[in-house]
Symmetry: C2
Subunit: 223 residues, 2 copies
DNA sequence: GGGCTTGTTGTGCAAGTGTATAAATAGCCT
DNA sequence: AGGCTATTTATACACTTGCACAACAAGCCC
């Protein structure tokens, strides 16, 4: 047990590195989302968040006016990431509309969109929407954007099937399909282990195609 | 300015009435749900809750071991009320299975089940489910109970239509229909004013019947 | 390398938290 | 009516919270 020269003076100030503003803000937002997901809004204190981000609590005030703004930016980042991921499943140029719709449903009902952490965050924030107009608007924008995407694909699918729905029917289809995806998403996030892999997506595709009145495709027969 | 005999001595102790245990517990639970719906879990302090219940904070400890137990009982009460309301729409003995299913969907997509306050509470609590096994189990039980009800009605409907689905198909139908109702419920709670009265129910019924492959009924013709 | 900027730390503070407990009183029992 | 008990109030306490601010040092600029 060598009494080496003490490398850490008892009241030493903590060493730190200066990070760029972009990086720090992103780290703090990520730490905020982690903390909220793990401890809820009540347990996500500035000190908890700072600890997770590897800094001290005081620093947060250097990048955000207050806790509320930090939470708001975190929620905005979350919503942005969610819609971005969801829409990303639609960019398949070389596929038929029906295939694109199926791929969209499949993507939304598997990882990484089916995810308990993201669901926990979504629920925690959305629970405040009715009391917080800013949250409500953020959700509404994301929701309508999502539904418009759905409506566009639905229009393509029906056009390819030589149907010609009026605007009202199109809207109703989009609302229903959006509900199917949302509902199955929730079930998958909350109790993913109750479903076999791909089961939710299969249920979703069948329900969506039934809603649109598409005749079932022949099941990939005997190879 | 008559100096009447001061009816309220300056340091008077607050007057109170003794209520039965059942009544007080119920009042406290209701005040808890109100507070959580309005201020979220973070804003629902014991003092806030007590103020709303018309008592002082100390009393809570007389009926509940701690805050956590109070919240847990409040959530249990909420879930119980929700499932009770939902199932109540199914007791229509003199109707055809298809009518009962339609009534069930309709009931779940109108007030009082479509309700911003209840949704806020549901989301707030469910957001903690992934971190709190007790909450997770409470939800799971409620969900499975609900889904089993749906499955039973679906079986009746299909039987009346001379279909004979196997257990797997039945389960898939129930999951899909549950998702449709859940998804539309959320949309209605979050943005009810975006839909005309009865619109969500109409969308829901159509989607559910499409899922089950029921031929559309003739629309109540001209008149 | 030496100064300067500013990102970062540490400490302090008032307000609010859940919990513990003593004091008071409402209302039943006899 | 008068005592007893359990419900209710009130106060205290240790702790956490968000925020303010002064001290400090990391690393760029010259």
């Amino acid at each position: 047990m060598p009494d080496a020269a003490d490398p850490a003076p008892m009241n030493a100030r903590r060493k730190f590195r200066r990070e760029g503003e972009g990086r720090r803000r992103q780290d703090l937002i990520e730490a905020t989302l982690d903390s909220v997901a793990e401890y809820g809004l009540q347990g996500a204190s500035l000190r908890t968040i700072a600890l997770r981000a590897g800094v001290t609590a005081g620093l947060i005030r250097h990048y955000f006016p207050g806790k509320e703004e930090l939470l708001q930016e975190a929620y905005t980042a979350l919503v942005g990431r969610m819609t971005e991921q969801a829409k990303a499943a639609l960019v398949m140029d070389d596929a038929s509309p029906r295939q694109r719709l199926a791929a969209f449903v499949t993507a939304n009902l598997n990882a990484p969109i089916i995810d308990a952490r993201v669901f926990s965050l979504w629920a925690t924030f959305i629970g405040r929407a009715s009391a917080d107009p800013a949250l409500a608007r953020a959700h509404r924008d994301g929701y309508l954007g999502f539904r418009n995407e759905v409506e566009a694909v639905v229009a393509e699918v029906l056009a390819a099937e030589r149907h010609q729905p009026d605007a009202s029917a199109l809207r109703h289809h989009a609302i229903a399909i959006n509900a199917i995806i949302d509902g199955l998403w929730i079930e998958g996030c909350l109790a993913g282990e109750m479903f076999s892999p791909g089961e939710l997506a299969a249920i979703g595709i069948k329900a969506v195609e039934a809603e649109l009145g598409l005749v079932p495709l022949k099941h990939d027969a005997e190879k």
